[in-house]
Amino acid sequence: MGGEVIVELKNVTKYFEKGFIRKTRNYAVIDVSLEIRERDIITLIGESGCGKTTLGRIVAGLIKPSKGTVLWFGKDIWKMGKKEFKKYRPLIQVVHQDPYASLNPTRTVYQILAPIVKKYYKPSSKKELVEEVKDILSYVGLTPPEYFLNKYPHHLSGGMKQRLAFARTLIPKPKLIVADEPVSMIDMSLRLSVLGLMKKLNEELGIAFIYISHDIATARYFADKAILALMYLGRIVELGPMDEVIGSPLHPYLRAILSASPIPDPKIARYKRKMELKSLDVPREIVQLKGCPFSPRCPYSGDICFEQTPQFKEYDGHKVACHFVDKLPKWTPPWQVATS
């Protein structure tokens, strides 16, 4: 850390309006502030419907927030002129979850990449263009590149498609890639190879990442030095360096999902103790604006939790939003209990 701030979110809220006469608001993201510096990796973790994808799209400038500002090197992106916006947009790239849907099935690999290379690199000849495309393919691990040039997306496996999706994002030399569940549709045996590619892009090209996932284990493999931001029903409830947050989690929700995460080791998996919540399911009334979003399920919640939204403040090197953060019982990792 310590690099220049690329993107800064200030008190960003996004709601979607439903209905025509009697409008109701569905809050997807509530009052989120976040800084992304050069070369940073931020992993946004949360369950489905917690607003993590919406937040990713706000960072990428694809959705305009209802309240709050998004700053790109200190400039509000929604107040930029058309020209400036056009310059900024390609510098943040998005890789989607489903590589089957994000690539045009009627175009070959060459046809997918060549127009973008033409636009950004302005090669002087066809030969140079082909060479550029081949270089990019080899860089993302689609080797030998000659073999792939004339293939259609349906000839490629899930892992190869995702590599191609990354190849495409690299051409405008982005500063930041928002990767939204990039490995959840990829075969297990190949997941790590796509995560490895992302590591390489971060280390060699200095591209910052926002990695959106529901799976802390893959996030941990992608970057143990990353920052983990945990979302629950639209809010970030805990934020800190990955190994510290996993090693000594504070927020009760984080503790609950860590204790519930399956572990690929039968001895640990069978004897670890899961933290019990008051309610097994997310409450139906999707987002309340009053109180702590986790209070109906939290085993430690008191009256204040239903009344006031806890502030997001520094504690023990993390940032956490919990009223009782200094009164919570000491945390022992469930897998430690299992192995001792």
């Binding site: 493999y221 519930a260 572990i263 998996a269």
Partner: protein, 321 residues
């Protein structure tokens, strides 16, 4: 050991434009009674087709070319539709993938359960069925008072999944088949489903057959594991052998390819290469193009099963011709 379900030399093919796609290639598999057996494999390895063949729910372009599926001593592949209908749900219950969508949206949970019961049996009155359903709902950690009168859209994904599990038990089946029971659910909900399944198994000893790609889930719940790759069974063993002492190179590499929350990650790595196309599978052992221990025989002849310690493994490392 007694086996409740035995699959013998099963071959399943799909007719596609490019030719015949052999998705299940000579698979034999025994499911022991009273245990939880898991069939594990990556997407496209044929595990769902194997399940479809067992239940005879293949799509119209799917054909069972040869083989037997024995439930106790009955060959399911030879039954008439009516005979099969009696076995399904009454003897073999199924929780399909994304079962959240399997509930009828215009029926209350109560009516759904009663209707299902009455379609098969008429020995209980409606009140007795509801009473039985309530007990099952409690077993899957749902509040019957809240759930019985609810429509599916009023329930969350995890609750619907648990309703389906309760519904699958209403006729006291002898075998419960679960196809990816935890996919598309959040971490906490997933672990609730696993807890519920463990509890059902502990309290009733029900035999379960689980098909999934999720190895961490299998580590927690399964007694025996069969590993499938490119239409073939690679290795069958108990859970500890698979995770700590696997014999087949594919199993060993697959275990190493799963990220974990615990422990050192430096030895975790992906399996090099890509799964083969089933239209044009490699000769010999299907895994040989990606295998680091490849021998000359591997691309020539398909390996038979060898018994190595607690494992049954199809790999030439453990025997000669």
């Amino acid at each position: 050991m007694d086996y409740i379900l035995r699959v013998k030399d099963l071959v399943v093919e799909y007719a596609v434009r490019e030719g015949m796609l052999r998705v299940v290639n000579n698979v034999s598999l025994d499911v022991p009674e009273g245990k939880i057996t898991a069939l594990v494999g990556e997407s496209g390895c044929g595990k769902s087709s194997l399940l479809d063949a067992i239940l005879r729910t293949l799509p119209p372009n799917g054909y069972i070319r040869s083989g037997e599926v024995l439930f106790r001593d009955i060959n399911l592949l030879k039954l008439s539709k009516e005979e099969l209908r009696k076995i399904r749900w009454e003897k073999i219950a199924i929780v399909f993938q994304a079962a959240q969508n399997a509930l009828n949206p215009v029926l209350k949970v109560e009516d759904h359960i009663v209707e299902t019961y009455q379609a098969h049996r008429s020995d209980l009155s409606k009140g007795e069925i509801v009473e039985k359903a309530s007990k099952l709902l409690e077993m899957v950690r749902l509040d019957p008072a809240q759930v019985l009168g609810a429509y599916p859209h009023e329930l969350s994904g995890g609750m619907k999944q648990r309703v389906i599990i309760a519904l699958s038990l209403i006729l006291d089946p002898e075998l419960l088949i679960l196809d990816e029971p935890t996919s598309a659910l959040d971490t906490y909900t997933q672990s609730t489903i696993i807890d519920v399944l463990k509890r059902i198994h502990r309290e009733s000893g029900l035999t379960m057959f689980l098909v999934t790609h999720d190895l961490p889930v299998v580590a927690e719940i399964a007694d025996y594991i069969a590993v499938m790759y490119a239409g073939k069974i690679m290795e069958v063993a108990d859970v500890e052998t698979i995770f700590y002492n696997a014999k087949h190179p594919y199993t060993q590499l697959l275990i190493k390819a799963i990220p974990s929350l615990v422990g050192d990650l430096s030895d975790r790595k992906p399996i090099p290469g890509n799964p083969p196309s089933l239209l044009n599978p490699p000769p010999g052992c299907v895994f040989h193009p990606r295998c680091p221990y490849r021998k000359p025989i591997c691309d020539k002849k398909e390996p038979p099963f060898f018994r190595v310690e607690n494992s049954i493994t199809a790999c030439w490392l453990y025997g000669e011709e």
